[in-house]
Amino acid sequence: MTGLVWLCKRETLRVSKLWTQTVLAPVVSSMLFILVFGLSLGGRIKHVGDVDYEVFIVPGLITMGMVQAAFANNASTIFQARFDRYINDVMSAPMRSWHMTFGYTIGGIVRALAIGVSLLVLAVVLVNVPIEHPFELALAISLGLVLFASLGLVVGIYAETWDHTSFIQNIVILPLTFVGGVFYSIDILPSPWQELSHVNPVFYLVNSVRYGFLGESDVSIWLSLAVTAALAIPAYAWAQHLFTTGKRLKS
């Protein structure tokens, strides 16, 4: 287990050494969203359901900041390690494949949690966001982070250039997050957009986190958690498979 502990430490060290890039920048951009969308649009859109608009968008923005960080961190850490070939130091070490998967997953999760906690503190101060269901919130965030941290690993392992990692981030994850109900309730969407929202996995994650914070959700919390879990488990298993077989990691 010593190897696993040191790999976790290494991945955490990378996040902390680059904290302005890995934590501060995403926190600032999410806060700008809260200020620009919440406080300016909040003057026009007073409430969504029974919730003030600036409070309504906080859970989605925290989710968005966290999942993007989890994905980006792990995609870049593993791609960099492959590109510079210092991953060989880990691959040749007496570590089990699950140590490697778990160790490399941790960095993204730590970074996402640092962002999430910072945003939560700021959101409590600025708009007094409540936490109605802490257990469901913790579960939703855990599942979401496992999903996106694992996806980051998989993409970082398959990527052949830096562009591949940013392509998935910008063309897949970011749009799905934006249309996943971060800024609105799908109740206001006309058909077929409302129905189409239900095939967006990020929609379920945003709603489960929103339920944890506000006690309100567009769909059942258990359905949201089940969908997120149904994606997180195979994503982690996929990353584990790559480390077990050495596919794309070993020639």
């Binding site: 010593t2 790999l7 060290l13 070490a93 007496p94 070993k250």
Partner: protein, 244 residues
């Protein structure tokens, strides 16, 4: 000096075919006894780095078996016995000299107290004291090469694999690295060295294997190879072996 009865390295029927169809090693057999200083010579593309990568679990073997001191090479025990300094500089860009050594020790299961002492020992032995808190990308080429070797030796491996360790280094550093490697060997460590420098192989290695196109052409001491090929210089052995 204690010599392990099991060979330090035993390759049986080792075959590696890459995904693009290139056959890098074919039915390769080799045994290196414990405590040996063994040299592997061959042109680019002969299969030297493939062989090393196979031993160090850095590629997927197509067929065959690799044993390290009698243990299958992919077991945790066997992995902990091998130290590798690769041909290309592959240092973690986020870590300082000291961290590079400490994290390597951690990955290889050393405990914290042992790590601290050994890292300091390696830093001093390789003349990196003034650079201990400098990140790898800020080191000079020679310092990086030293750190690479220090990292390979950090966990006190029983089998040290050096893939062209002196490629592109200046005369002084080459002499320094030679001295350190020889000292290491005199302490009982088994060394497998690949090199393009024939003088290096002759000066350091007790036994030399010549490989070409994934096959073993010959193996013997430098004198034995000269005698076998009927020539007086190792360069001529090399030329004859590669042309045969």
């Amino acid at each position: 000096m204690f010599r392990d009865p099991a060979p330090a390295l035993q390759l049986s029927g080792l075959t590696k075919r890459y995904d693009d169809g290139t056959l890098a090693l074919e039915d390769f057999n080799l045994e290196i006894h414990s405590g040996a200083f063994f040299g592997l010579l061959g042109p680019n593309g002969a299969g030297k780095t493939t062989l090393i990568s196979a031993v160090c679990n850095l590629l997927r073997i197509t067929e065959g078996e690799v044993l390290v001191f009698g243990e299958p090479h992919d077991t945790l025990k066997a992995r902990s016995w091998v130290g590798l300094a690769e041909q290309d500089i592959n240092l973690d860009r986020f870590l300082t000299v000291r961290e590079t050594l400490e994290y390597h020790g951690g990955y290889f299961g050393m405990d914290k107290d042992e790590i601290e002492g050994r890292a300091e020992e390696m830093i001093q032995a390789f003349g990196l004291t003034s650079k201990r808190d400098v990140r790898a990308p800020k080191l000079s080429g020679g310092q990086r090469r030293r750190l690479l070797l220090a990292r390979a030796l950090m966990h006190r491996p029983r089998l040290v694999i050096l893939d062209e360790p002196t490629a592109g280094v200046d005369f002084e550093l080459r002499q320094e690295l030679w001295a350190y490697i020889r000292q290491l060997h005199s302490e009982g460590t088994t060394i497998l060295l690949t090199t393009h420098y024939l003088d290096e192989a002759e000066f350091l290695c007790e036994e030399i294997a010549l490989i070409r196109d994934g096959h073993l052409i010959a193996r013997d001491s430098a004198d034995g190879l000269r005698e076998h090929f009927g020539v007086t210089r190792l360069e001529d052995v090399y030329v004859k072996a590669m042309a045969s």
